[in-house]
């Protein structure tokens, strides 16, 4: 499975990736204003239907050293994506190659994927009469053609690299091993929500970059799995139970009535 490894210690915040994403995916610019607090250089403020990738600017004091670290917002391409689990019509799907892709022809626009995504990635075209859910596709068209995603290709410092997920995890572990003081000893995305296809390395705690560190290590699909698995059981069980209960009750009513009236009337005709 293909994946991206984003090593924020290598990122210089040039935002080539942000523009490359727009160029390849033909996304329009947003009207922005200076983003005062707390990000300074960052713009747009957030992902949107027009912006699938945003570099964030974070000032931090860690280990007595001032750091200016650049985070990356984009789809994490979870191994078991909660958006795909949530989607009632498989408009969002995980491909074998790694990207989580979207098919507008199926989409109802229910936006459950947006609710389900722990990373707030899927974005809706609120301003359109015929809206779509939009998000980073890991440049699935390029990946299918054997190319790397636009953001990985454009990155001057190899802060974003593209490859097989296992290889990238090995590479990330290797980097931490080689430079143990230069990294937080954690590969973000290796285990988060059951693992993602976008992995992050950082020299500052991931909260500083605005990443959620309270996410479970299991796929969010697991949270609905039981509830969904019991549906057929409930269905058949309920049918049998309802039949049985109604039979018992009706019988008792009839018996009671028989005892009272000695004849049957009412319930049936």
């Amino acid at each position: 499975m293909k994946a991206l490894l984003i090593d924020v210690t290598r990122c210089v915040g040039c935002r080539g990736c942000q523009v490359a994403c727009k160029e390849w995916n033909e996304l329009p610019a947003e009207k922005t204003r200076f983003f005062a607090s707390p990000k300074g250089y960052q713009n747009p403020r957030d992902l949107s239907s027009k912006t699938w990738r945003v570099v964030t600017y974070n000032e931090a004091q860690t280990n007595g050293r001032f750091e200016w670290v650049f985070g990356h917002l984009q789809c994490f391409h979870c191994i078991e994506p909660s958006c795909a689990t949530a989607c009632p019509v498989s408009a969002l799907q995980k491909t074998k190659e790694g990207p989580v892709v979207y098919d507008p022809d199926r989409c109802l626009g229910c936006r459950y994927c947006q609710l389900a995504c722990p990373f707030l990635v899927p974005r809706f075209e609120w301003d359109k009469a015929i809206p779509k859910i939009t998000k980073c596709t890991m440049c699935a068209d390029r990946v299918a053609a054997g190319e790397e995603p636009a953001c990985a290709k454009v990155c001057p410092t190899d802060a974003i690299v593209f490859g097989e997920r296992e290889d990238l995890i090995a590479e990330a572990e290797n980097r931490i091993h080689r430079n143990p003081r230069g990294y937080v000893h954690h590969i973000y995305g290796k285990d988060e929500v059951g693992g993602t296809c976008v992995l992050h390395l950082s020299n500052v705690p991931f909260e500083v970059l605005g990443y959620r560190t309270d996410l479970p290590k299991i796929s969010l699909r697991e949270y609905t799995k039981t509830a969904m698995q019991v549906v057929p059981h409930v269905k058949i069980g309920l049918a049998v139970a309802l039949g049985a209960v109604s039979w018992v009750i009706q019988r008792r009513i009839r018996n009671g009535r028989d005892e009272k009236n000695g004849s049957s009337s009412g319930g049936e005709s």
């Binding site: 210089v12 040039c14 610019a29 009207k31 200076f34 005062a36 250089y41 000032e59 410092t157």
Partner: protein, 810 residues
């Protein structure tokens, strides 16, 4: 750049000072971070913690305008601790040269100073010559007047405490910087120095760079892979445009533009061709006559002949200074009537734009050639003016973008690379080549009927395949122009036993002649188009074959001046026997068996030891002591024109050799003082915008990334001023004021100087009143004052005040 972009990967220490490479040359970071991966130390010295600082191992702050003190201290540190590569310094620099007895230095002034003209008599700083006219040397470096001892004495004054007091750099961090960088004195270690406009845009900009050069020479870092003094140039072809001499003081190939004193070619050559009596000096500039004659032949063809001094009289002769600031002062004074602009936007980019815009209004006519409607072309539309009041007639000509035309551009590493037309120019826009060709033909037509001194125009050699008439459908043949720049034989000629036919391309500048048998529009580019076919266009080469030293020179990728030499001064990368100082990443080496150099194209073919390595210097040595500069042979710290502090080194507050415009032309040239303007201000750029902004503020994607002017200021200052992050603030100097959003950040910290706290603020200068995103230009703040040698404006340090703008928060 002496070296090139991917060469940075070979450095052990990378000093980034006066440059914010991550913002302004983002792809440089590819090679810097790769070097870092291999263990290199990256140092960022900057008044503000930048995106470059974000990946540096050491960040050291210092107040804008105190570069000489900062690096002077490093030089002193190297000299005091003997972190000097002695063999290199002794053999390849002028350290051993004895300087004239007339030299002296006292209280900030070198000898020979004339306060009335604010200039030096440089003869006080000359070498002492022996009877044969050879410089006297002391190879023990002990003579008190040898350059090395003078240098040592001069920089002794820059001890760590003094330096930290002047610069405001934290002592411990500063010492770390010194330690890291001077570690490259060892022959197997090398450091590279990256700088840009942060270093040059000062009243002592040239001397800033001199400190870098001196330190690099002491450490033996020039000429080596991963070393050098590297100016990161900010525009795609500012190297090429300089090579082609779009500057008043030079002709193509860095030949001096003639002055009124040069009444004949002979007089011109006499004053410009350097001479040496040292047989070991290659003295490359001794070829001056060949280059100027070949240039004149390229311009005037058959009309340039020995009989008429090769039409030398057609070339304008200057009297004095015509540099940028002088130009706008002259325009303001009403002297200049017409202006042609090709892709330049002074209404945003010039210093003291309030004055420069006023100057533009005084023009009779303006021809602006651009892709966009720039601020300059639309001064009559700017906020607060009535168009009717502006009488300037303006022609705005639409030009083609870089993907709509063919030609070469030269990057910062001197690589001339060919571009192709992918599509036709949009609408009715035309390439600048077409526009220049059309204008020239039209002017020729005008002068065909006579006019003042029409010969330089009517006789100008101008045939690029479009016929006599202006025709919008006929694009000039850019290959013809490129071949003229390279040069060709104007007649049959035998050189070095080989016969060249008339019209044959000259294969290299060593074959250029001073008898009119060759022409070359720019001798430096001779060899770039060495044959008649398009395949002979070396600038279009795309081979990734590496040279045998395997250090990524890629000699068959594009073409690089001079003669495809990828690392300048590479003869200094080997010891006097031709063995590389560092065999692991050698640039050139002498193959004694084959009796030839291997690796990069060497600085001349001579065997090791036969010639001194710095062939462009008449003495063949790199200059620790430079007697040719206007403001002194050794760098000395002076404060910027506007500074909140007295100069702690001497009573000379500012560079004594600069022109003081506020005295000579006081109108709109006010200078501020620390009582009203106590804060140091500086200007800079961001990665997402480019220069005066027309090329980025008109692109929606880039406008989105940085939509507004912002002013960066420290937390303490913001608290004092009652400014919150995101508030609108006004910056004011003696010349103007502008507003932007406050970005309150810990990346800007106050400086301590002798216990006094000085705050600094910075503002991006890309904005103007045109484009998708608009804002005030920061250059309304900057002064009309220039460097003593180059006249580059002092954009980087001025006095200002900042306060919360009315209208409040965002």
């Amino acid at each position: 750049m002496t070296n090139h972009w991917s060469d940075m990967v070979h450095a052990d220490v990378i000093m980034i000072m006066g440059s914010n490479a991550a913002e302004n040359h983002p792809i440089a970071t590819k090679w810097i971070t790769r070097a870092k991966e291999k263990g290199a130390i990256v140092v960022s010295a900057d008044p503000r913690y930048t995106r470059t600082s974000s990946f540096a191992d050491v960040y050291c702050k210092f107040r804008s305008g105190t570069d000489i003190a900062f690096v002077g201290g490093m030089i002193n540190y190297a000299l005091q601790n003997d972190f000097v590569q002695k063999d290199y310094v002794l053999n390849y620099t002028n350290a051993s040269f004895i300087i004239s007895e007339k030299y002296g230095f006292d209280d900030g002034l070198f000898t020979g100073y004339n306060p009335a003209s604010r200039s030096y008599d440089k003869s006080h700083w000359a070498y002492e010559l022996d009877g044969k006219g050879m410089p006297v040397r002391d190879m023990t470096l002990q003579h008190p007047r040898c350059a090395f001892q003078l240098l040592k004495k001069h920089f002794q004054r820059y001890d760590v405490d003094t330096v930290c007091n002047i610069t405001g750099a934290p002592r411990d961090v500063y010492l770390q910087v010194c330690r890291h960088y001077t570690s490259t004195w060892a022959p197997d270690r090398v450091g590279t120095w990256l700088y840009a406009m942060g270093a040059t845009q000062h009243t002592h900009g040239t001397q800033n760079i001199r400190t870098y050069a001196i330190l690099q020479l002491l450490l033996g870092n020039v000429g080596l892979a991963g070393g050098g003094v590297n100016a990161l140039r900010g525009e795609s072809n500012v190297q090429g445009s300089t090579d082609m001499a779009l500057l008043f003081h030079i002709l193509p190939g860095y030949l001096a533009s003639p002055t009124a004193a040069d009444q004949s070619l002979a007089a011109y050559l006499a004053s410009n061709t350097p001479r040496t009596n040292d047989p070991k000096s290659a003295n490359w500039w001794g070829n001056y006559p060949k280059y100027i004659v070949s240039l004149l032949k390229a311009w005037y063809g058959g009309h340039a002949a020995r009989e008429n001094d090769f039409a030398f009289s057609y070339i304008p002769k200057r009297s004095g200074d015509y540099s940028w600031i002088s130009l706008f002062e002259a325009m303001y004074a009403g002297q200049i009537k017409g202006l042609m602009l090709f892709g330049q936007n002074p209404a945003v980019g010039g210093p003291n734009t309030n004055k420069e815009i006023k100057a533009l209004e005084k023009l009779d006519w303006m021809v602006a050639v651009d892709l966009w409607e720039t601020e300059t072309a639309s001064i009559w539309k700017r906020p607060g003016v009535k168009p009717a009041d502006i009488k300037t007639e303006i022609f705005l000509l639409p030009s083609a973008s870089s993907v709509e035309k063919e030609g070469s551009i030269t990057n910062s590493a001197r690589w001339a690379q060919w571009r192709y037309a992918a599509v036709h120019p949009v609408g009715n826009s035309r390439s600048d080549l077409w526009i220049l060709d059309a204008l020239c033909k039209a002017v020729k037509k005008e002068y065909a009927a006579g006019g003042v001194f029409p010969e330089p125009i009517t006789r100008l050699a101008w045939d690029y395949g479009t016929g006599e008439e202006v025709d919008v459908r006929k694009e000039p043949d850019v290959h013809r122009v490129a071949k003229e720049i390279n040069g060709y034989f104007t007649q049959e000629k035998t050189v070095g036993g080989r016969q060249y036919k008339k019209g044959e391309q000259v294969p290299g500048f060593a074959l250029l002649q001073d008898d009119g048998s060759t022409c070359s529009g720019n001798w430096l580019y001779c060899n770039s188009y060495a044959g008649p076919e398009k395949k002979d266009n070396k600038m279009a080469r795309r081979s990734k074959r590496d040279a045998m030293n395997g250090i990524g020179l890629y000699p068959d990728w594009a073409w690089c001046w001079p003669v495809n030499r990828r690392i300048l001064y590479n003869r200094a990368s080997v010891d006097p026997t031709g063995k590389p100082w560092n065999p692991k990443r050698w640039v050139i080496r002498w193959n004694a068996g084959k009796k030839q150099w291997e690796g990069d194209v060497p600085d001349g073919p001579w065997p090791p030891g036969e010639k001194h390595p710095f062939i462009m210097k008449p003495d063949g040595h790199a200059w620790l002591f430079a007697g040719n500069l206007n403001d002194g042979p050794l760098p000395e710290h002076y404060e910027p024109l506007e500074s909140p502090l007295p100069n702690m080194m001497s009573r000379q507050q500012v560079n004594p050799a600069i022109k003081l415009w506020h005295k000579d032309a006081p109108e709109m040239n006010a200078v501020g003082t620390a009582d009203r303007f106590p804060i140091v201000g500086t200007t800079y750029r961001v990665s997402e915008h480019w220069q005066a902004g027309a090329m980025t503020r008109n692109l929606p994607w880039l406008a989105e990334l940085v939509p507004d002017v912002f002013v960066e200021m420290g937390v303490d200052l913001a608290r004092q001023k009652g400014v919150q992050n995101g508030d609108r603030v006004t910056l004011e100097t003696a010349r103007g004021k502008m507003s932007g959003y406050a970005l309150v950040t810990r990346r800007f910290e106050p400086f301590r100087h002798n216990g006094k706290i000085v705050h600094e603020v910075g503002v991006i200068w890309h904005f103007g009143y045109q484009g998708i995103v608009k804002g005030d230009s920061a250059n309304v703040l900057t002064p009309h004052v220039g460097d003593a040698n180059t006249m580059i404006p002092e954009y980087k340090a001025f006095l200002c005040n900042v306060y919360k703008a009315k209208g409040g928060a965002s």
